[in-house]
Amino acid sequence: MPASPTPREFEAIMVARHGIQLAVFLIKSHFGELVSKVCECLLNRGSLSFQELVRFAELDPDDKSRNSLLVKKSLLVLIQHNCVQAFSVPKLGGPGGLPKLQTKYMILFDNVLHRLRFAKFLAIVRNDLGPKCEALLEGLLQHGRLTFDQLVLRATSKQPEATQDCVRTNFNELVQSHYIERCPRADPFIAPTPETKPGRRGSKSSVEIPTIEEQAILAASLSDIERFSGISPATNAGVEEKDEKLSEHSPSVSVGNKRKREIEVDSDVQATISETEILWRANFEKFVHCLKKKACVENIRSRLGVDAAVILEAMIESNCDQKATENSSVTATMDAILEGVRRKPGGNAMALEQVRIILDQLGCHLCSEDTGALYTIDLKGVIEICRNDEVESLVLRRYGKEAFRILRLLVKDGGKKETDMIADTTFIEKKENQVLLYKLWKDEYLDVERVVTAVGKQLTYFLWEVNKKKLLMHIVNDMYHAALNLSKRAGHMIEQDPEILLPKQGLPEKLQKEKTAEKRRWMILQSSLAKLDDALMLFHDF
């Protein structure tokens, strides 16, 4: 059975057939046919060893001897671009033989899809840290993973006036803001999980054993301190200063000098290693968090107005939760919220009482602590509203206002509702109600249960409900399909006219007008894809 990185990815890969097609299309358009075949093989079959990949991928059916070379090159490309993670597992040898190590390769489905979002990631950094940091991130997104030295080389070749110190400053800004991180371990070893002893009959274990891929991700990941420790210059001023203080109080100058030299040598070696050997990459987790924040703020702005959006944004930015990117819960003190609000345009005029009322409207939970009033909000609730909006809008367009009402009723109250009860609450003619319910059930928006009463006259009732999990999977799959279609159509336009994006000067007026219209059509496809991807992230990433 195919396996995959996490249960969520497993679900996405298994159910969302169109997700696989989209991922393969992205890899094909970025790296070509051969790499996409390896990607497709890993997506369909789960984690595989090199030999298995060579056997299944069949990159060159005419010349099988070339297969391993092609697979190796394709894997290197995918690893370089953070789309594949390798891990080692023990493999039993023959009878009496010693166990060997086998390296397996797993596809990182989410990271493949993130390739759709690079423009959004760049915009986030441009707005937050400026164009110089954006240029550095662009390098990492283009090349997947690079050392600091390679980044400096790239920056100086593009902008000769850029100095290494200047690049280092921008680089460290990116690291401190967690936009980039050190790459995870290349090939972690996964020890076999000891088999659990069978428990007492009837007792159920609530602890789920992580899949081998989940273990691999965990084993490959670095601690936060390692991930986000920046690059220091070769001769550290801080070390010198520290050492001066040390020598002042030291009874023996010679011992102090020796230690100083040792520290200098150590830090120089460390700095050289950091600059030339340590690989860096974009931290997608942070970008997903930023986009989640943006989606929540936008939703609040459209529902509760600008002031509420400003307050929520300030609250998320002053979150005191250390694991902000992993948790959906946001906690901030009133002082920090006020400070954040005052820094925002239009926030200066907001009075404390107004902020309090809006925090209440946002559904924030207030708990007092020694440090002052502490407000907590779970962004899951906002995301849930965003998802419902997306599904409702789809039902409204596909089936009309009455079906939209039915869906809202069933989502709002949860649980099962009887046919006539739905008609009565939604004010829909009973016959039309039945027709709509049938359509929604047929298209897998609703589940139905038939109940026959045996008391007195036999009556049959139909109970309807929204199966949220099934519905979301179904919609996400359709969204992948739509994203693939938009990408294909845009790609086709470029194939038809490779110069579609070039300036149109010098052409006859009529032709120029036609070409400009074609370019705008292409841009509409791209902007629709970006918006659809925002919606996709609501269901898959947030």
Binding site: R303, R397, D424, T426, I428, L486, K488, R489
Partner: protein, 231 residues
């Protein structure tokens, strides 16, 4: 056979039996096919008796909300029960759209006027004469009716249901009470990203494949969408 009511016109045996069966069903009425099964006699005589009772104005035909094609009859002195008529929102077997529309407008108007209003407040405002004018409705509007209409408006995202905090806009509503206010922000259903592209509403999406007969390259809906954009 039950004794004949002295005030009733003279009825034949079949008519009399039929009338008592119909009357026993009170406001629920009876389907004519069921009636024919209950009243023994030749079919022509039964049909004739039914016609006769209608002519004598002892029974009336009613439309059942559950099955409009079924011919239902009921004694004239009874009003159709909610099961048959569909309740207060139905008129002659169909939703009373005009009444619902006016009541809905009234509810919205009063919620807007109060900024935040409970069900009782809206009902009271509807019942009261305004600026010397009589109330819009001559019939009694129940609290249940107002509640149902407000809940419908919540489903349509026209108003939102909130719990009173007792301060600010809520100062005239006791704390903790459920109340309604006109949706803030944009209100109404939102235009989703998926619904705004052809694939979101495509009836052929499941037949569409990258290199198939229906594909994004030759899709007529795409052509219509992109071709219809005026630059």
């Amino acid at each position: 056979m039950p004794p004949q009511n002295p005030r009733l016109p003279k009825l034949s045996d079949v008519e009399s039996e039929m009338y008592s069966v119909i009357k026993s069903r009170k406001g629920s009425g009876i389907w004519t096919n069921d009636l024919k099964k209950e009243v023994m006699g030749p079919p022509t005589a039964v049909a004739k008796a039914l016609k006769s009772l209608l002519t004598k104005n002892l029974i009336k035909e009613v439309i059942s909300i559950k099955n409009k094609s079924r011919k239902m009859v009921m004694a004239v002195e009874f009003e159709p029960s909610a099961d048959v008529s569909g309740g207060a929102w139905y008129q002659s077997g169909s939703l009373d759209v005009a009444f619902i529309k006016i009541l809905r407008q009234q509810c919205r108007r009063h919620v807007e006027e109060h900024k935040v209003a409970t069900c009782e407040m809206v009902r009271k405002a509807i019942k009261e004469p305004k600026r010397g004018r009589p109330p819009v409705f001559t019939t009694e509007i129940t609290l249940q009716q107002v509640y149902e209409i407000l809940e419908l408006m919540v489903l349509d995202k026209e108003v939102e249901k909130v719990r009173s905090s007792g301060v600010g806009d809520f100062s005239h509503v006791p704390e903790g009470r459920d109340c309604y206010r006109v949706s803030r922000g944009e209100g109404g259903p939102k235009e989703g990203a998926f619904a705004s592209i052809p694939c979101g509403v495509c009836p052929r999406i499941h037949e569409c494949t990258p290199d198939g007969v229906i594909s994004p390259i030759n899709c007529v809906y795409y052509n219509k969408w992109l071709g219809g954009l005026d630059f």
